[in-house]
Symmetry: D2
Subunit: 343 residues, 4 copies
């Protein structure tokens, strides 16, 4: 490894924080140098502070690392990955950016800020140009880049290739995994043998974030896409993997076959980023795919699988919500930033 | 009990057959007099033949009853409730109707026949007038009455009150319980920690059956309703209770409040049938209801619960798929037939 | 209803509190007159304060009742049912007893106190004689009666009839439902597609409580039974119903058939208490029973089902952990107290 | 890869067959050259014949391979791995052995045959000496080697190091994953929100197979170990990973600490076989481990994890039932055979 960019994780002990550590293990460019978490955890080794719940052991290099407070003065890193709760992120991420850190955030705090890029590399890499606007506006040495909400990320790569057909309206019903709510987010009594047809704030995010992601950046600001999105979000007894039943209304009325071709031809060139999946969109031909248990780890959890493309246009999309939909998204953003020379 | 109508169950040992027996236990009008099943079961006592899987014991009156073959000559009943597989039902139900039996069928075999009523009592009781047409056409002494597919039944009572607003189009994504596929229909390896985004034939049923149910009967034939329905059907790891995210497009563009009022005012008068629920539609005000585990048994499993009525118009509907959606539906049909003097 | 004993519920909003309210709905002797809960809930109506999660609606009579603080001065009742956390119960239950209330407690706080009866009516009703000792000792006008831990209650009625064979040792591996930990006790991420082989404090309770329950009361104190009990407690993804694989070593080495007879002959005479099940122990003959989903509601949730009695002696026991194992146990104790003239 | 041993899979399309193919993908010694399955599948490509259900894609090299009948004349291989149903294996495996194939079988058909080795490499590698006896007895050019039942394999490596303390008796209650029964073995309606306290034939296997595995081979026959084993087997709603609550009675009455040391010191030297796990037994210190979801893939699914070693002696063991407990077990046996020059 010739390159070594120092990486910190903010909110390192939680479910997404653990996914960050997993994503950065053996990463060719980034090296974990700081793990920051709440006062309760600070001072302990990461192995003691975190209730590690992934199906792999804590990487050896972080187990004995001492957790530091979430404070720019205590964190030694070039880039920090933020898995902070949104209200807390609002002030803390700004402090880090001000102090010169590149902040790759999975929190929602800054997603809607006019001068903060909301990016999915395969969809709107050019929006990273907003970083200059942001630094001008705010006088920061560093900057904040965000990725969207997990249910948005699964859907947006499939909407992007539909823009060519004049995408007008989207209706989406989600079936979301419990890991999306964090380790203690969904009680077993709430979800065993059950569906909960509501996830606070989720529908609003799915209805607005794609408009920014699919919008146009003219060098100074984003003009939002004009698409009418209506979402119904449901929680289901699945560990990982959000499944979405999507209807897309397009002016050009493409056939299912044309939509399938558009998905297959969607091959954005990011320049071989380390965690970029070979296929952003995997098209399944089987009648009963994609399925979360079978398909969530495709492309190391970074691919979105689609299937059942039918008249309507209707289709099913599925992706790993805590990899593609959270930690992996921020890491891919940071890789892109490095490639572009901004990190 | 002054009345005693002799009732048979065809396909008595399966999952829906068991629900028929449960629904008829202690029924004020119907008395189970015949249990018919495949040759493999015939001759055994019901207790031996059936792998009883409900959360209550086999009713004492049927445990020791001998199972007979599915043959009009071997069945002693005024009405037979059919839980037969559809291909088999095609010939067998016709034989029973010819021999003078009233057949209340949960099978799909005759649902689309022009002269066979497809009925949900609260929605289109008047369609039972087709029985006369059917008997004229076919020269049968008995007749066949059908109820729709389980996922259709959960949705249709909520569409009926929307007809007044000029219902034009419906999009529905379902999250269906495993019991809908029968006892061996869904392997645990297929569905634990998983979603299967496909149920064979289900979408076609949801897209066509409501058009007949919501159609107009002029005394001789049904004119189908003109509604564009698009369904995406998913299987989820839930035991009982189908949940549906529904979008309804209406010409009059009613507000969510008007839709809610329409649901609350939907109180069809069936004349106090024994298993008719107090409320066909239960409107939940909570942000996170209805939920299958908590609401499936409302109205003894015969109510449909709705909630989350929002702009769109969007809402969530949920009902018990093997009670309201199957056995209970056929029994309610038979009760209505008796009330109308046809049984 | 000629009798009407005023009943309060302490800790009324939690999972066991809800089961108390359900158990007392339409009870022939007890009428709910007070619902007490934490300061956060006090002052609200019960409908607002409780996150009701049972598969039935909140009884009408309690929905609009105002929740009061857990304070003897604010509670109007003859008997209070306690679903309080154990540490809190330690002081609060004593205050209620001192003020003259009969306290029927599901908490563990006083179970091991020498002068407090730990009772399962079918097992050791005579231990209620300890109430006199307790009142003498402590100078209380009221008293406290406790029931054991849920996993103990499921096992103990099956051990009682084995005492006649010289019961020496018991080994038990449990598979316990998530509801035993309370509504937020087990995260879905902890238990979906998983087993947790540990429940804090549970094994100790299973190893000690039966010794008191099966002990002898001589009018002044309990002599504990001399049985060596070893427990391994596991949490499983089941909503309600604890299943236990039990080995019982007995001096007389009875055959499986003799053990089965002992279970069938175990018919304690409690004098027709309202919630007493027809059969305390239900013996299943099927090779694959009891099962929690199918058998937990037997006897309205108050029966323990056993099966698979084999050489060893080995067998499987299963019962409803929040009915028989918690709220229902306390209510049955209170019914017995009333029958004995102590309430 | 200097070595290339041709490998066939018998019963290649089922759940264990798929695990064989997964285990052999990229194997340094074995190359899949033949896939054999029932007449229904023969003639189709494997991709068409198999309903592939693993969380990884079908390896490219086998997707287009034509499935052949289970017939020694049609199979081109040096070693065949058998995932056949036991009754069928009885005749078929003998035919293959007679024709000169090395048969590494996961079926139970020959496990109890006096001259057929039942082997777990870390436990009784020396029993492979029985192959010579077998070939002498039967006049076969090839031979059959078997591995035990999945629930036995998880337990036996933990019993082996306890033999030094004079192991006398074992009681074990299992909580077994649904994959152990094959793809259609357990219906979702049977196991969602449920436990099934019975698995046909499983307890007998657990009670007898360890006696052969832990027995002594004197060059001509096995003297069975003298241990009294009593098993209670339960099915739980877990996808993969059998969890076992074990009690072990030993003459020397070792302390939990001594048992833990014995586990840690159990490091059989197999000579670096390719799929041999770094640690056969992983000792977990956490109070709530091992857990199937978190620990089943340790050692690439080939390690057994133990924890909660307490007075009793009691402990919990857990391992992957279709890798360590099935396909991986047979592959490890074949690797050992190659190392010993028998393949």
């Amino acid at each position: 490894m010739s390159e070594s960019i120092k990486a910190g994780v903010l909110g390192a002990t939680g479910a997404v924080g653990q996914r960050f550590i997993q994503a950065l293990e053996n990463h060719p460019w980034f090296e974990v140098t700081s793990l920051a978490a709440s006062e309760r955890s600070a001072g302990k080794t990461y192995g003691k502070a975190a209730n590690w719940r992934l199906e792999s052991n804590i990487p050896d290099n972080v187990r004995d690392m001492e957790v530091v407070p979430v404070d720019p003065k205590k964190v030694d890193a070039d880039v920090v990955f933020s898995a902070l709760p949104s209200d807390y992120a609002k002030t803390v991420e700004a402090e880090f950016a001000k102090e010169g850190f590149a902040v790759a955030s999975n929190a929602s705090a800054f997603r809607t800020a006019e001068d903060v890029p909301l990016v999915v590399p395969e969809v709107n890499a050019d929006h990273l140009g907003l970083i200059d606007v942001q630094q001008d506006n705010r006088g920061w040495d560093g900057y904040i880049v965000t990725n969207p909400n997990c249910s948005t990320i699964i859907m947006v790569p499939t909407l992007k290739p539909l823009m060519q057909f004049g995408l007008e309206a989207v209706q989406v019903a989600t079936m979301q995994a419990v890991s999306g709510a964090g380790y203690n987010g969904v009680s077993s009594m709430a979800i065993l043998d059950n569906i909960v047809p509501y996830i606070g704030g989720e529908e609003e995010k799915m209805e607005t974030e794609p408009l920014k992601l699919l919008g146009e950046f003219d060098g100074s600001e984003i003009t939002f896409a004009d698409i009418d999105i209506s979402a119904s979000c449901n929680r289901v007894p699945v560990m990982d993997g959000h499944t979405e039943s999507i209807w897309a209304k397009m002016a050009d009325k493409p056939s299912p076959e044309q939509v399938k071709e558009a998905f297959l031809n969607f091959k954005p060139d990011l320049g071989d980023l380390p965690t970029e999946p070979e296929e952003v969109i995997i098209v399944r031909e089987e009648a009963d795919r994609p399925q979360p248990r079978l398909d969530r780890n495709m492309g190391n959890g970074m691919s979105v699988s689609v299937g059942r493309i039918r008249e309507g246009i209707r289709y099913t999309a599925m992706g790993h919500n805590t990899i593609r939909g959270a930690a992996g998204a921020s890491v891919l953003n940071a890789e892109l930033l490095h490639k572009m020379g901004k990190l």
